[in-house]
Every structure is written in C-alpha cells, then in structure tokens.
Symmetry: C2
C-alpha cells in the first residue's frame, strides 16, 4: 500500500477534527483510493492542551518547519488562520515543493492570486474545499461537476453564525443583540463577532466562489458588503407575513459578460429550498446555463464537518501524488475574456424597504411620489404602528427596479423631515 | 491545446444535449482544464431526424463501430439505453481500450460488476455521474467529496416522473391516474410508465449508490421495491394535515455492518429540505459519520441537465487521459469487510398505515389490539369518513417499531372481516 505523509500546522478545533478523521477513517480512504494518508506531524505553539484526540507518540511539535521543510511530508495542511503567519507557512511549503490544503478564506480572498501563482511555479496543488461551505463539497461540485456550465448566478448562505442568529430571531421573536449574546455564550459566535455578523466572512467566500467561476480574481474589496445588524424582528415578521424569510446571502450574478457580486441580507421565499436552510447550516444555490438550478447543503462550520472537506482535499491531492499527475485540474484558470464588474446602477432586482416615519398625513404620498419619480413601482405597501405614539414603520416591496435609481430615491427619501432613521433596504431573491 | 476525441452512440434526447453542450461550451472547458473535448462522431440508426443541433459535417454515422473501433476516439459515450445492445457497445469499447461514459442505471444495476471488471482489465475508466440524479453532481460529491466518511444513510428523491406526479396530486388534489395521464400527454411520463411509477428506476439508482458507498455490489434484485400506485390524494392530504409530504424515496441505511436498501413511498416533514423538493427535481440527502447531513439538489432528468453530468464525466476522463493517470480513482472498490444485507425484520422505523374498514363498532379496538400484541405503539390515529356510507379510512402513525413485527401485525389485520382492501403501509423518515 502506497502512503502519503501529511503534516498539519495549527492544532485548533479544525486541526483536531482533521487528525481525528485521518486516524479514524484513514483505512477507509485506503480501501477506496489505494493509498493510505499517514498523519506524520502536527505543529502548534501549544502541544500540551488536550484536544480529545489520541495521537500516536512523537507527532506533536512546536516547530512548524518540521513540516514545511520535511523531506517526508508531501501535503501540508494550514489551519492556523489569519493572513500573516498562515501566508508565510503556505509560501514556504509551496516553495519546498509541498502541496497545501487550507480552509483559510480570508487569506485566499486577499492573496489567492499570489498563492496560486507560487503553487504553479512549484508544481504544487492547493486544496481549498473547506474554505467555502464547511463540509459541503461545493467547490468540487461547482468546479468539476458543473465544468461545462457558464454560471449565471450563485446565492449562498455561507455563514453559519449569521444563519443561526437569523433562525433564532425568527423562532424566538428575539432581538439581534440578545441572540448574538446567547450565541457568544454557547460558542456559536466569536467574542468579536464583526467578521461574521458584518458579512466579511461571507464576502471572503464570495470572492473565492467568484474567482472560481468567472475566470478572473476578485477580492472582497471589489464589492458591496452588508451584514445583519440592521435586521430587526419586525423585518423578519413582516417578511414572514408576505411569505419570505430573511437570509444573509452572497449574491453572484453574471449578465452579458458583466459580473455583480455582493453580500446582502435578502428575502427568499419561505418555502423555497434556500428558505428552508436553518440554524448553522449553509447552502450554495447555483443557476447555470446547461444544468439549470442545483443546490448543495450541509454544515458550514465545525470541527468534524470542516475536517471532512479538508480530508477530501488531502485525498484528492494524495491521488494526484500517487498517480503522478500533480495539478491535474488547473486552479483558478484566468480566461482571455475577463469578466468585468457591473456598475451598481446596472443591477435590476426587487427590494424590501423599511422606513421609520412620523405618523402624520402626507408621508406615504411623499415617499411613494419620490419612488415614482425614480421609476420604482411598488408591489406592496404596509404600515405598522409602533409602540411609540407618532412613529410608524412603513414596509415597501418594489417590483423589479434598477438599483442605482433605487439608491437615488432612497437618498432623497432619507432627507424628508418625516423620516426618523436611516432607511433600510434588503434585496429580494424570488428565483430560487 | 491538447485535444480529446469523443464519440457518442445514441442520438436521442440526451445524446443531442451532450452534442449541444460540447459544441457550445467546449471552449469553456478548454479554458478551465487545458484540453479541448472534440466531438468526432455520433452514431444512431436514424441520422436524418432533426434534433435541433447544428452539427459539423461528417459527424453522423449509422455504424457504431466507427466509434468503438476508431483509432482516434478515446472516450465513447453510450446513450442508447437498455441492457443488451448498450452492454455490447460498452464491452466492445472497453476491450478496444476506450474509456466509457454512460447514463444507463438499469445496465449498471444489472451488470455493473462485470462492466467495471472489464474496464479494470483494459485500464479504462467508466463515468456514470448521469446515472443517478440527472445533472446533480452527486456521484462526485459522495465518492470524492465525502471520501473520508462512512455513509450512515441516504434518502434519495431520484425519479423526476414520480416526484412530478406526487407534487401535482398534492397541488391539484388530483388522482394518481389522472395526473399520470396528463404527464404522459405532456411528455413527463413514458407511455409505459412502469419503470418510473413502480419504483424500478429509483431501485436501479439505489443499487448504484449502495454499491458506491458500501464497498460491495448490490443489484436492484437485492431489495424491496414499491412504487407510487398505492398513494392516494387522501394519503397526501392526511400526511399534509400531520405536517408531512409523501415522496418516493430510495432508502439506504447502514447499522452495525448491515445494510438496508429499499424503495418506498415515505412521509418526510413538509418543511424539511427533502419535503421542499418539488416537480421533476431530484435530491440526494446523505448522513455520514464525519460531515453530518448534506444534500444535493437539481434536475433529475432532461436533455440539458443530464448532458451537464455526461460532459462532466467526459471532462474528468479527458483530464485523466491528458495527464496520463487513467483510473486515478478506483471505481467501486470492494472492501475486505463486505457489508451484509440486513433482514427485513431487523429494521426499526416509524410507519404510516391506511386501512379501509367497515364503519361498525369494534374495528378500531380489533386493529389497535393486534398492533399492541405485536408491540407496535401508535403516535396517532385518525378516522376519516368516506363518501360511501359504511366505509371509513383509518390512518395510523406508529412510534418507532420493528418492520418484521409490523408486517406480521398487518397480515393479521388484513384478515379481519371488517378490512375492505389491502392495508397500505408507508415509511416515515423524520430525521431529514
């Protein structure tokens, strides 16, 4: 039986899961593939804390160079996170001719172009299945399973923390801040939740997906990113009454050679598949020109689920090594006909608008008048009384409208003296 | 640019879709993979009918041996269907050293073991993504994406015709026969619908999935197969009132080294993801030991969707050819520790029972008494009046019960003089 030697750098939650999966199911992988992945070394600054994995002796080290510079180790698994040390580790491993597996979406979104260029120079593979959708094999499904398809759009629920918070807000009629605090207490949200709830983590994943399907590199700097802090229980309940759920979506669309990518809270039909994705689960919904609509669903994070994707990459690269076909599938090929980013005002879609207004005659007329002048027609208008006396919420759903015109109208509406706080606008995605 | 020459045998619906996809998006595949798949020949007995694809001159032939015996063609795509000529074509191609792509689940379910052995002898690959789930890349996702997982269970909605009929029955409150007739009229069902509605097509796909994940060959002869002819609008409405939908499921489960595979109409929670899969769409829900629950969704049939999966296989095998790594992933490896089939009476689950009974005192007591004696406890009992006078339907939902004991009880109940027609039993799958 051929063996492939593996080194893991970073023995945190996911690192422990990967070690456990390799030790538990390495024999199964060998039966299925003909080679045995062997866990040779794990490097971490802390080699004493118990991670609940019974490791063979001599595996732990504090010196990551025992992995990146090893003569025996062929695949280096980077699970330290962050964009500085992790980048150094990966570059060093690649330059030593090792292939790399990483779950580090922040790093790929920022430095993917550079990292994959160094991999190419050194004849090495980089596996990144675990960087998007946790355990869901969505990178493989999209890159290989849909290889003959132009992707028209992707809608992704890609952050388990946000989906957990939105699900809890809906089911328990609880405010964002209260649910976030509870999620932090039980480990579903970080002490500093900005990466998740402000949409940046979803944006990193959107950058990876966009770069994968559209034939050029995108970074998360290239597009609009909104998180879920503006979503209120009233929004969730208003959406629910109209047959929608609110999800934080990575939205990627291609139209006539122009690409639009963004991260936005969005209304999706409650009984659609995306609307049925709850709690910490993730889903990637793809509409493509040959296959039509497909969706991939599973746990978006967590020790075991993420480990499943990391070990799938280890196995894929191991098969390349034992079959002497490294870089069998080119990573992030750049096409001749690079896609351009569409300008914001070229996007057409439907929108949900919430306005906090003074309850005096003429407000509705002023608001709808401004929208009409900007060519925004309305599908529904609801006014909800607040507990405070002269304060009402106005919920508007537009028909298909141009986003540039909508924003111009919203800016004008925001200046009306009757408007009490910044207007809130969410996308509506009906096609799922 | 390297080229790989492709021949298609069978220019029907899917054959035309594959030709179209290769001609339209072959250049895209080349950009993504570095090789160009070239459509060299298409063989069919009918080379005159217009399939709506503009083919280059000289591609069509009536002689399939121009493909199987060609010196240039490296990948043979079998799309003739059936189990006789299709088998001969595939064997001839394999023995000539060609790799093969097929969507033929009936053939794989019957002769997979033989075909893959011949492929191994000849160093050839067989791609079969399109045999299960149409365009959904579920074979790739499960085989490669979940490679480090023991699969605990699979629940599959794998037949678009059945799912279309069940969806229509629910939405239009229409009887099975009426919906079937309409489906035949608009092309969603075959003139002879037995393969679909009696569950055999689903069973072929279950045999392929079972053989893939459990390390031994299964044929659809190995397990129980029920279709949807016994599903009535009353069943659908009763299930709906209790929060369930009825789907035809391929059910594959492993427990302590024993495997249970069957095809059954089953109740799934209405708001679950599987319950949200409607019309001709398919879905494969998988529970596995490392990744947990994942699901794969898309069009289960049709010219374009199936073509997407066939071309994905062509691309995968093409990448093996240009990288000189044929058979990079062993097909259907047989493990040392073959899984055994579990006996029917070892299965435990929940069940839906419908009895047609005379509306006279004491029937309920007789029925529930028999169930109690067989250790079957009930979660709910509903009695529904029929339009006919002395005839009622009794709908029983069991708690978790042993299937062997359930069948013994049902046999006893069927003999009661008050029972007017054969009892109907469906599975309940709550865990999705």
């Amino acid at each position: 039986m051929q063996e492939v030697q593996i080194g893991i750098i970073g023995f945190g939650t996911v690192g422990a899961g990967v070690a456990e999966a390799l030790l538990k199911n390495g024999g199964l992988i060998a039966k299925r593939t003909g080679f045995l992945p062997v866990l040779k070394k794990i490097a971490d600054i802390d080699v004493t804390r118990d991670r609940g994995v019974a490791l063979p002796k001599g595996i732990l080290t504090t010196d990551y160079k025992e992995i990146t510079d090893s003569d025996e180790i062929q695949i280096v698994v980077e699970l330290v996170g962050g964009k500085t040390f992790a980048k150094d580790v990966i570059l060093r491993a690649l330059r030593n001719g090792k292939s790399v597996v990483t779950a580090n979406k922040a790093l790929l979104a920022a430095y993917g172009k550079e990292l994959f260029a160094v991999a190419a120079e050194n004849g090495a593979d980089i596996g990144f299945e675990a960087s998007v959708g946790g355990g869901i094999p969505c990178i493989k499904a999209i890159r290989e399973g849909l290889v003959c398809n132009h992707v028209k759009s992707i809608l992704g629920i890609l952050n388990g923390t946000c989906n957990y918070i939105l699900t809890k807000m809906e089911k328990e009629h609880a405010a964002f801040e209260d649910v976030l605090r509870a999620a932090q207490a039980n480990g579903y949200a970080e002490a500093n939740p900005a990466l998740d709830v402000d949409g940046f983590d979803t944006a990193h994943k959107a950058a990876v997906l966009g770069s994968l399907v559209f034939g050029r590199w995108f970074t998360s700097e290239d597009f609009q990113v909104e998180g879920i802090r503006n979503v209120t229980t009233m929004d969730i309940e208003s959406a629910g009454a109209m047959g929608y759920k609110i999800k934080l979506l990575a939205i990627l669309k291609e139209h006539e050679g122009k690409v639009q990518i963004g991260v936005h809270p969005a209304l999706v039909p409650a009984h659609s598949l995306l609307g049925s994705v709850n709690d910490v689960y993730n889903a990637v919904w793809v509409d493509a020109d040959v296959v039509g609509k497909t969706m991939y669903y599973g746990r978006g994070a967590g020790r075991q689920a993420t480990a499943s994707a990391v070990v799938a990459d280890i196995t894929d690269i191991g098969l390349n090594l034992v079959n002497r076909c490294a870089r069998r599938i080119p990573a992030f090929p750049q096409y001749d006909d690079y896609m351009e980013m569409a300008s914001e005002d070229s996007y057409n879609g439907r929108f949900y608008i919430r306005l906090q207004v003074k309850d005096i005659p003429g407000v509705m007329s002023a608001v709808t008048g401004i929208l009409a002048r900007h060519d925004i027609s309305l599908a529904s208008v609801n006014q909800k009384e607040s507990e405070e006396d002269d304060n009402v919420s106005m919920i508007l759903l537009t028909h298909r409208a141009n986003e540039g015109r909508l924003h111009a109208a919203i800016q004008e509406i925001a200046k009306l003296p009757e408007i009490l706080s910044s207007p809130v606008v969410f996308h509506i995605e009906d096609a799922v």
